[in-house]
Symmetry: C2
Subunit: 644 residues, 2 copies
């Protein structure tokens, strides 16, 4: 067992026009490279070669013990750099607590990076800026400002341009302020914006993932392709229901309810836009392009389109393909004529967020057998083999996000996120405070450990203390009779934030069984369709925040994930938003997204008898062939960012 | 001198779903045919051949003395019809007071008619309806409602259709309510509306003339091409200034002022829409197409685009070509996705209203030398000769609309609209009430008569009573000293509505001189450009309400109009709105409008030295070669519609 080390990343970021010192700490076991760790944390380190040790761009300054300098580093780094402690992040592995300094120039990336699947995306957004000199008006030529602009556009080779009303309204002043020299922002033949003078050096976009629980947006420099800042908020719709189905039900009550849900998420988005403006000093009105992902229902609600029939058989959305609207139609507080694209959905319950993950992870191009599992408030699964992709959705999520679990909570301060059972319970609490509850990753750890030591059996039953021989009393005394079956005291009243025992009930375990059963059964159906056995799975990608924090052994131990060698499982982080960002900076990717949405087959599980069977089966806690692992593979930030 | 006769038209009109009896009276001298008279009053009588006595469609029943039955009528009418008093309106001339019954079937026209220029317009609007059966959703096919609708459209031959957000939002309910049988309204490749079931038998549009003073809208059946109802309102912007320039000034104060003016005219339009709904029983939400004319400034204000630079040299509008927007962008209370077209403008002061008049009168197709004068709040002039058209604008209007004249008022109840001087003043007052003021046509009559009897001389000076020999005392005693020069009592206190003398001042006459001078000078410049002498003018068209009511001899007497034989002068009524209606029912006309706007040359008078000279000249009251007319040519409705 390798020793646990703490890695502290230090770098600078552009905020509100000035550079700001940033710092983040990660606990790891020293197996991973610094580049790998940084990517998991979404900390940007440039690496043109994708971390293959060839480009020599991922330079960091290492303070503390690390592995020896490699041959490649000796070749790629200068003597000065080597003596100054500079290393390549793709080679260096910490051998004790280290401090990693990321040089400022290296934080400005042109590439879209996700763990394990670097997509080198050319920067070619579908909006462009162009500097134009427009003819001045003369007494003899009564042509309007708009017509002279159109003539200038035609001279520049852009025929049939359309100028929306909002742009035209600004035109007279913008033309005269710039002495008839202007910069136009074009989206195909539509003029999105017009600015006085030459502003071609600036071009900004917004990439957003509208999650059922959390909304995350990034401000992107569309010339460089790099993300300038990220902001996240809880989805304001949460007040109207925690999960997708309860929001659909609320929206189905009438137009005013639908409008309320739309306004809630637009308000959330506008909060994010304002925060990005604060962080970068770039006016929101300069955001001319927006790409959004989100599940199908979130997209409907954000567009103010009723999702009623998504929730009723045959689960039909109002739209599934890509939608382009103008910001002003949504009340989005960026440039009013900014083009807002909702990426295409596969089906009512496999949305653009899944398409984003597939795009960002390059799933379609892989020839290996890959399973992608995105556990958010819903659970979406995609299996891919030689270009054929099948997807399905399970209503799995809430248990993993703390809902429907008596002591459950979101992964915020006070949440137990990591549990090990030795002679007693050892747990890690987010923020290092007394525990207030248990979050998804903690719950999986907890139950996996209870299974391992026998306190919970394969059927999910919490044993009586009397049935357990050879267990330490510190553990058996935590078992007691509850309202329905036994319950297990995770933390005693003296240790908790509110002074009450923190308890896992038999019902909590049943909820977890239902959730994990649905996901595992969904995976099995997809495996069956593509005829892939557990052991043949070459790669298992865990998307979403949850996938980042889950302890893979625990998930396998309880049968949430198929049993495959640990190294085949990879967390790809918020790949949905990465997909959105990719579409924002590359028109090719945007088109690819539409192709993917059509290519990914959808399997409606509720229509299948074999799913019911698989589900009954998968509810059991049967790790089956889970191999004994010799690594603990702890991947955990201390402290973890709260509430995002 | 022919005797004056009264013609009473009686017909039925569709109002609010039921037929209503209508009646209108006209006083004439018996020179005109019934068809000609009806057209001047905008009373519809079908005439496919354009009144050339060939089609036999303009049947009316004549009660009272008329000219003899013609050979053509004997051929085109049946024996029963001839004995029943049926005549062809294009042949019959009244020879005493007559009552003209227009058969119901003849009031439903497919043609657009204006006096002297019948345009047979094919009914082919640019929006169409189509009944479609959409595939029902199935569990196996996750395609959204929108995608299945698009597939049905493609099957019907419409590729690349675009479905706006508003239509998509309604789609799930509309599809299911109609059991997936729907009617789509298309405008090119854009879907404007979707309705459950088969509604292809209904298709409605709105044609509007936004005048500076008055806004008139007509609800049009786009299958039949016929007008179902008309409503008119004063332009709500009047509170912010009577003329164009004062509104431009107000709007230039800032965005909120601009918005206020926009809202004012949109409110006016919505009032008209509501009235049309009341009158016809057809829901405003069924109006899927709108065509608007108006002067360039009115168009800017209705669109919320600043007209600031129209009023500053070089008088540049923000736009001049045709603009298409969606109703929802304006807040227009028709179908939210209805396409609203603002017809193209020629220049900052020659707007789409003028283009509408040119279109409706077929000016471009005429080989003769034609002058079109549209005197509204502004005065626009177009001269045409063998396809070449030149236009100009003069700030002539307010005096003719009662503004800037001490006793001036609009042509409403209590306005003196007709004046003759014999031994004393003889006048006709609108509504038959005691006079409250004098409207434009009355003012021209008044001054023309004062000129004729010598009370006003050619320089515009009101003579002293002592200078006038041989005039009746009843006239000379009306002349008295005023604040600046003499004044003339039009009506004594005892006769007026408010009990005060109604007085025409020397300053009033100066205002009229400025106004008529500008128009006459503008006409002269256009004549000079096309090298057309007064006597060579083949036709002079008077557009606008004012043109309908003006007494042509008076206008010539004072030199407002060039001196040409009376029969060459024709009133074409509100031809601007007829042009809008024409574009609404015919895509060919709509395209023609854009071509015309480019073809009509614009002459900026303020840039020309010869205009100043002509203007000085034209201010004099010099009828010049005005030939002595042997007809009084009175063309006057009793009572005249008020305030429209």
């Amino acid at each position: 067992m390798r020793s646990i080390v703490q890695v502290t990343f230090v770098w600078q970021e552009q905020r509100g026009g000035r550079r700001e010192q940033r710092q983040e700490q990660v606990i790891t076991n020293g197996d991973k490279t610094i580049l790998g760790l940084a990517r998991e944390q979404d900390i940007k380190i440039d690496a043109t070669c994708g971390g293959r040790g060839r480009c020599g761009r991922c330079k960091v300054i290492v303070h503390g013990p690390a592995n020896d300098i490699s041959k490649s580093e000796e070749q790629l780094l200068t003597k000065e750099e080597l003596t100054g402690g500079v290393r390549l992040a793709c080679y260096v592995r910490p051998q004790g607590n280290v401090r990693i300094e990321i040089p400022t120039s290296r934080t400005e990336l042109v590439q879209i990076l996700t763990e394990g699947s670097e997509q080198a995306v050319p920067v070619e957004p579908d909006i462009t800026k162009e500097y134009l000199v427009v003819d001045k008006p003369e007494l003899e030529t009564p042509a309007g400002d708009r017509e002279r602009l159109l003539a200038a556009l035609e001279q520049a080779g852009h025929v049939d341009s359309s100028i929306p009303l909002g742009v035209m309204a600004d035109l007279p002043e913008v033309l005269r302020k710039g002495n008839h020299q202007v910069t136009v922002t074009r989206w195909h033949n539509r003029i999105v914006a017009i600015e006085s003078g030459d502003t071609t050096d600036e071009l900004f976009g917004l990439a957003v993932d509208i999650g059922t629980t959390t909304v995350v947006g990034g401000l992107i420099d569309l010339h460089q392709g790099k993300e300038l800042a990220v902001a996240a908020r809880l989805n304001g719709q949460a007040a109207y229901g925690a999960d997708v189905i309860s929001r659909v039900e609320y929206a189905s009550n009438g137009t005013s309810q639908l409008r309320r849900l739309q306004q809630a998420v637009i308000d959330t988005l506008n909060g994010i836009v304002a925060e990005l403006e604060d962080k970068t000093g770039i006016a929101a009105s300069k955001i001319h392009r927006v790409v959004l992902v989100g599940n199908t229902c979130m997209q409907h609600l954000a567009l103010g389109v009723s999702p009623t029939y998504i929730a009723r058989s045959p689960y039909t959305p109002a739209f599934s393909h890509r939608i382009d609207v103008m910001a002003t139609q949504l009340g989005l507080a960026v440039h009013p004529e900014a083009v807002v694209t909702f990426l295409p959905n596969v089906a009512g319950f496999v949305g653009a967020d899944t398409v984003g993950v597939v795009l960002a992870t390059g799933l379609a191009e892989r020839s290996s057998r890959v399973v992608m599992i995105d556990i958010g408030t819903n659970g979406e699964l995609v299996m891919s083999y030689e270009g054929k992709m099948v997807s399905c959705s399970t209503a799995a999520g809430p248990a993993f996000e703390g809902a429907q679990i008596s002591c459950g909570m979101r992964a915020g301060e006070g949440a137990i996120e990591f549990v090990e059972i030795g002679d007693d319970i050892e747990s890690v609490v987010i923020g290092g405070t007394p525990p207030r509850g248990i979050c998804g990753s903690g719950l999986i750890d907890m139950v996996a450990e209870l299974l391992r030591v026998g306190i919970v059996d394969e059927t999910g039953r919490l044993q009586d203390a009397a049935e357990l021989e050879g267990l330490a009393q510190s553990l058996t005394e935590r078992i007691r009779a509850g309202e329905a079956g036994n319950e297990f005291v995770v933390a005693w009243a003296a240790e908790t934030a509110d002074g009450n025992d923190l308890v896992l009930t038999q019902r909590d375990i049943r909820e977890l069984q239902l959730a994990k059963g649905a996901i595992r059964a969904g995976t099995k159906i997809l495996q069956k369709i593509l005829d892939i056995k557990d052991e043949d799975i070459d790669e298992l990608l865990l998307a979403g925040a949850f996938g980042n924090y889950i302890r893979k052994e625990s998930a396998m131990q309880m049968g949430l994930l198929p049993c495959i060698p640990l190294e085949r499982i990879r967390s790809v982080g918020n790949a949905a938003r990465v997909g959105a960002r990719q579409c924002l900076i590359s028109e090719t990717s945007l088109k690819e997204a539409s192709r993917l949405a059509l290519e990914i087959d959808y399997v409606e599980l509720s229509g299948r008898a074999d799913f019911q069977e698989a589900f009954m089966d998968a509810m059991l806690f049967t790790p089956g062939t889970v191999s004994v692992q010799d690594s603990t593979e702890i991947n955990k930030k201390v402290p973890r960012d709260q509430a995002v």
